[in-house]
Structures are given as C-alpha cells and as structure tokens.
Symmetry: C2
Subunit: 288 residues, 2 copies
Amino acid sequence: MVISLAHLGPVGTNAETAALAYAHWLEKTQAKSCLLCPCPSIAQTLHSVAQGDTKKAVVPVENSTEGSVACTLDTLWKLDHLKIQQELVLPIIHALFSRGSSINGIKTVYSHPQALAQCQRWLQEHLPDIALIPTNSTAEALDKISLEPTAGAIAAPRAAKLYNVPILANHINDYPDNCTRFWVMTLDPTPTVSSRISLAFSVSENVPGSLMKPLQVFSERNINLSRIESRPTKRSLGEYLFYLDIEGNHEDPNIINALDALTHHTEIIKIYGSYPVLFLEETDIEQL
Amino acid sequence: MVISLAHLGPVGTNAETAALAYAHWLEKTQAKSCLLCPCPSIAQTLHSVAQGDTKKAVVPVENSTEGSVACTLDTLWKLDHLKIQQELVLPIIHALFSRGSSINGIKTVYSHPQALAQCQRWLQEHLPDIALIPTNSTAEALDKISLEPTAGAIAAPRAAKLYNVPILANHINDYPDNCTRFWVMTLDPTPTVSSRISLAFSVSENVPGSLMKPLQVFSERNINLSRIESRPTKRSLGEYLFYLDIEGNHEDPNIINALDALTHHTEIIKIYGSYPVLFLEETDIEQL
C-alpha cells in the first residue's frame, strides 16, 4: 500500500525535504512507499489529513532560531483527532543562489521571511545595503531570480540541482546548529516506542497561579517539560493557550497520573500524542 | 524641548500610528512635542535609542491575534539599559485598498505577512483564489498597487488619505477586537504610576521544575502573571528564554520581595521596567 503524505510545497522547500526524509526512512525500515502530495499552505496540509484526503502530513513545528511555527500550532488547536506519529529534527542549511557571477553584484535578495531572519547577521555583514524581499516560499524566491542577474535567493542547498541555479555562498545561516522540528500527523497512529508527549490546554481564568497549577502537576511528579509556549486565544488580549512538550511516554503510570491530574486545572485539553524523535544529519539529506 | 521618537517606518504603518498617538498624548498631558524618526526595521528602531541617537522608541510587542513580535523580544534581550516608559494598546483595523473598482476584479493582494494572517478568513471567504504576496510593510503594499488595477493592498484605513488610494472594504480583520501592544522604550524613564512589570530570564539547566520554581515565586505571593512567553536562546533546540508580564508596580514590597527571590532560580534576569498602560480607541486614531 502506498501512503499519501501531504506537505507544504512546492519542490525544494524544507517541508518537502522533511517529507522525502520520512518517506525514505519508512521505505528503509518498514518497506512502505509514499506518494508526496504538495499543498499550498500549512493549514491546507493539516486539513488534508483531517478530512481523510491524505493518510499523513509532515508539518514544521519549531525552529531553533526563530521559534514556534504559529500557523501549525493555531491550526492544530482548531482540529480534532489529529495525532503525532513521529517527530523529525532536520538540520536547516541556507545557501545564497544567483545567476550573477559574484556576491558583490547582488542588489536584491528574495526569500521566505523565516529564511531571511535566520540569515540576518550574514546579510548585514556581506550585503548591508541591499533590498530584502519576502516571498511565500524559498522555492518562489528561486523562481524570481531566473531573469535578474543582480538578484539572489536564499534556499536550501538541495534546490541547486532541482532549479539548476548556482550557489554563490553556502551555510549562510547565522547559527550553525539551525534546525527545525517537524511532526508527522495522522488520524490513526500506529503504536511505537515513544519518548515525548505534546499537548495543549486553555485555563479557565486568569488568576494568580492559573498556569502554576498545571505546571506543578509535572514538577511534583519529577516529569521534565522540554518546551512551554503560549499562543493568544485570539478572543481578547491577555488570554492564552499553552503548548507543552513533556519527556516520557503514554504508558508510564506516572505520566498517566499526571495527565489525569492536569484535567482538574485546565479548561480544554488536547493530547496530540506520544511519539519517538528521529534526528537527521546533513548527510541524510544530501542522499535524497 | 522636542523629544525624538523612533518608530518603524514609513508613513502609514501601524507603528507610525502608535508613535503619533503617543506624541499626541504627550502634547496633551505634558505639553511636550515630539519629532518622529522613521527607521527601516524594529531592530534599528531599538538600537537608535540604545545608542542615544533618539530619546525614545515605540515598538510593537504583541498582537491579540498573531501573538508576540519575535524581533522586538529578541532585540531587547541583546540590549542592556533600555527601559519601558509606557505601554500603548492600539486597535488594529485592516482595510482592502485598490485602484480598481470592485472586489471581484482583484487577482492579487499585497501586504505585510502579519496583516495577511490577521485577515486570512476574510480573504478565504471573499477572494479564495487570488495570489497573496508578502511585503516588508503595509506601506510598501500600497506602493505596489499604484499601477495595477487588479491588485489590492491591506493596510490601516488611515493610509487612505496618506496614499490617496480608495478603500474597497473596511474592517476586514477576522477578529473585531484585534489590537497590538506597543512599548515606549527609553534609557532614562521618568517615574510614573505603574500597573505592570515586564521581565525576561534564562534558567541555568533544563531539569524538572526549572520553570516551575520561578513561577512559584509569584504564585506564592499571590501575584498575577498576565503573560508568559518562551523564545529560543538560538544556541540549541530546546533551550529557552522566558518573558513574563506581572501585574503590580515596582514600589510594592511584595513585588520587590518576589523579584529578589527570582534571582535565586534564574541564570540571567532582565527587568524591562514598571509602567502604566494607555488604551486607545478607534476614535483616538481617526483624529491623528
């Protein structure tokens, strides 16, 4: 059976790289093949699985330099039943592409705002006086420069062979350990050995300690939180949802007990699942 | 004495509206006049005050729909000595501008990514099949549409008279209570009656309860947190800084005691100040 796998398109984006890496890993470990289904937005990628149009979706959750991907968190809160099957941690490398012959000739650089933000120090140092133009994806940036020899695009090095554009400078991201967490989402996850649980909740009122009590549930049981993130409820300023990642798995009685206790201190709670984490290296990506 | 006031430019952006509103309020309540100094980025706006080139800066901190302004938080963490003088809460209204005659003729919409995100439901409903093109500011979007009758731009209604472009639809933001918090930053704040304190800290190690202990400092003293936000340290995935807003003022012995206790449970701590909050209405902005 071929597994349909939704991701943010078009070809050459980091989301496609993550989808390809997951497909490659499924083939290698479980002899299953995937059909990649590019979607125009992260929200549509997640809706495609929620509606049953595709079996799984790969979506970015958090970047080590720029933080959470707001659109993914906001869409997951609105959808029910979607669960995390697996996490992938992908190294994110940015390169400067151009049809022109040297960095000095560049007058404009196009890229996705996240990519521009992740290379801001390099750009400030090497191209301080140029125009930075945001695009909807790194792939769109590569399209833009095809007829402009004084324009550059920031994208993943993998795009060089896909778009046939030369790289003027590689590894231009400000932080060498720049990486992004991706979640593989599905309606019916297969049981796995898991190491992390992700959940989100709202609290019923904004009073002293309203967030402290949910956090105490974990600290009292010696359970480590690897992330806490707040997002606005969008109803009114100062009302938040909280996103937590906890270390452990759903079969541990200590965790079961904590999640049960948590319901007494929260309003709405959504458990996105208990899942393993797969760390990918630069060499894994070069093979794709 | 004229007070120099840095803000993200160019004219017509919401940051300029906030700066104008603050200048208007200073004139009315303290008979002081301001000179507005537009800057090309939020980081440069803050650096301009930190270096003493301008006296004050107005920067966006948090939007009720889209959450924290990452660039403001990240830049403040890197700068020392900048303090919050005042908070302004500005209603954010978005309108669709075009030189064309009807919504049906629109094929492309330009705007800042935050503005596109804040109107995504309206766009999905009224213009489902068009291209959405990100720009560096809402003002840049208005420049783009000057020669394209099938293009629209999303910007503040105030821009209509500044750019002489007609409004096709007003109040198109998905959430009617959409508003943004702005901070007025300075090196030497004048003492005021304050109602809120903002601070940021890092914790020394990622162990169970490392965030719980700092939060307990406040809940034990019955001090309410009105916001908690995490941002990556950018050093490695899973290491965070925390940004807290607490209700109260710096002269309250209970708060002084809590801030002192907090130093025992944090690594680096930065107190951005104790300040009053000024809520603006749509009618306040229409007068500017």
